[in-house]
Amino acid sequence: MKSPLRYLPWEYLGLFCVLLALIGLFGLLSDHFLTLLTFTTIANQIPALAVIAIGMTFVLLIAGIDLSVGSLLALSGALIGWVLVDWQQSILVAACVGVMAGAVCGLINGFISAHWAIPSFIVTLGMLEIGRGAAYLTTGSQTHYLGASVSAIATPLPGLGLSPSLVLAVLLVVIGQVVLSKTVFGRYLIAVGTNEEAVRLSGIKTTPIKIAAFVISGLMAGLGGLFHVAYLESADPNAGIGLELSAIAAVVIGGTSLAGGRGSVVNSFLGVLIIAVLQTGLAQVGASEPTKRVITGVVIVVAVILDVYRHRAGDFKAYAVRVFRLNRPASD
């Protein structure tokens, strides 16, 4: 127990190993995988999913779920395009409008689900449909080309090779993790996710806390929309279809519990990396569509199994406590 090993970030180790294993595997399968180019392309591709995974971590922490992130990403992108092209505003104004729209939709999600005690699954499923419809309306169901006005955000900085959006996303991951583990708000999130009634009985208002989590998720989806638009230089109303499942998969691979109360933003980010490496690797080895599907499925499950087993071996006690004392069986 007293060995210097304990200073290692053990909680990130399991996923890190899965990630390394994947990279190693693709390195063997493809001559060109283990190159700097591969990694910068992966890096520049993930910012949207990464920020959305941050927001999703917050929502899952309070035992909620947000299915609307994909639609909100599209809506935010659509609005950004609209403000840029039809209103001829600067990118700054457009970005604010897009991100704010995400936050407002998140606020609506949070308000309805927290205030009226409606399951967030349903509220955000509704928002998924509404947000998508709004994105179609905004764009007239057309993809709008935006060109260089937005692409600066996603263009690799000379010298660094990484885009501003990636830098911002990583910064947000760090901030998110700090908020979660060091601030009063973060502690309240975990507390609400663990035992909301107890928090309420401690004289703390839980509704604002829950709403805040959804607002953050909406905000992040809006920001994801900005990153997405910048990356693809166009506003596409069909963007982000099915993204909610990828985001949740990333977050859950990162060890966040769908039952609330347990989660880590850094681990969610590792989950995002695993998914991105997998997608790029499979495309690079030229796997057929069925193969891609099957391998993706297997990797998702195996990553979580490995993570769970690492926990069991490394910390049997904690596991025993979790499984047998806390009425929160590891299987949901």
Partner: protein, 297 residues
């Protein structure tokens, strides 16, 4: 319904035409629907129109259901762009048996299945394969023979996607190019961008990427630009959506194809009205034109 009431002058019973499309979330079909509505506005005394589409192109059940619903409303004509060339045949046969005039547009129903079902449905639409071949041939003129090229196809099961892929392959083969990779981008911009970035890494000598629609070409173009490969790797698309024009103008897209989606439904409706009037028109291939920076017909 509303159209009937608002006109209020239905001395003669106007035929009811149902236009059933694939994804109304797709620009191509939106243009198609708009074209039909405009045509209807100009000829509102001749027929009533109801336009429907499905959520995304893979939702066959929804489209079959739409056909049944239109039968339930009692339409006289169904003009359909089938989401699947086989699975729609049985329900269309029921429609035909119910005395409804069915016209197939855009995506041709599978001939062997039609034969099995003992049905013949007139077709008005483009030849995707020929169109894709045109685009491919134009691209090939700008490449060295033997160059490495990659194809990003649509959804694997989509007939028009398969046709476009086949057209690309035909032309690449005939012009002696080397197809190093064929992957499905599922018509999606984001997916195509992921695939493109992987292709760029994996094939340093890649000379061209052929995308089965313009959305995917947009995704690919963005990646190529970021990778600084816009010059080296040529790009072609299909559909000629509005956003593609900018790319053509900036030389980031070599060519795309125009299928006149706006007209397609109109052709179909006219065709059906002709049948109703007692005519027996022949299957009609609508034009597919090559679009380049220089040539915009």
């Amino acid at each position: 319904d509303s159209a009937t009431e608002s006109n209020g002058q239905s001395e003669v019973q106007r035929p009811k035409v149902a236009l059933i499309m694939k994804s109304l979330a797709n620009e191509f079909f939106v243009a198609m629907a708009d074209g039909a509505r405009q045509h209807h506005a100009e000829h509102s005394s001749q027929y009533d129109l109801i336009v429907n589409g499905i959520k995304d192109e893979s939702d066959l059940t929804q489209q079959v259901t739409l056909v049944e619903q239109m039968m339930a409303i009692g339409v006289d004509v169904i003009v359909i762009a089938p989401a699947d060339s086989k699975a729609l045949v049985p329900v269309l046969k029921r429609a035909v048996n119910a005395g409804i005039v069915v016209v197939n547009i855009d995506n041709q129903l599978d001939q062997s299945v039609l034969q099995q079902a003992n049905l013949s449905v007139p077709f008005v639409g483009p030849d995707n394969r020929a169109g894709a071949k045109k685009v491919g041939d134009y691209l090939a003129k700008q490449l060295q023979p033997g160059s490495e090229v990659a194809i990003i196809a649509g959804i694997a099961t989509a007939f028009n996607g398969q046709q476009r892929q086949a057209g690309f392959e035909d032309s690449m083969q005939q012009t002696g190019m080397k197809v190093v990779s064929v992957q499905n981008g599922d018509w999606q911009q984001a997916k195509a961008s992921t695939i493109t970035s992987a292709l760029v890494n994996e094939y340093p000598n890649l000379a061209a990427v052929l995308c089965a629609n313009d959305s995917m070409a947009l995704g690919a173009a963005a990646v190529l630009k970021q990778a600084g490969k816009s010059e080296q790797i040529k790009l072609v698309g299909f559909d000629n959506i509005a956003a593609a024009k900018e790319l053509l103008a900036n030389d980031r897209l070599v060519a795309t194809a125009e299928q006149y989606g706006g007209q397609l439904a109109v052709f179909g409706i006219d065709f059906a009205l002709e049948i109703l009037a007692g005519g027996q028109p022949k299957d009609k291939k609508t034009p597919v034109d090559l679009i380049t920076k220089a040539a915009t017909p």
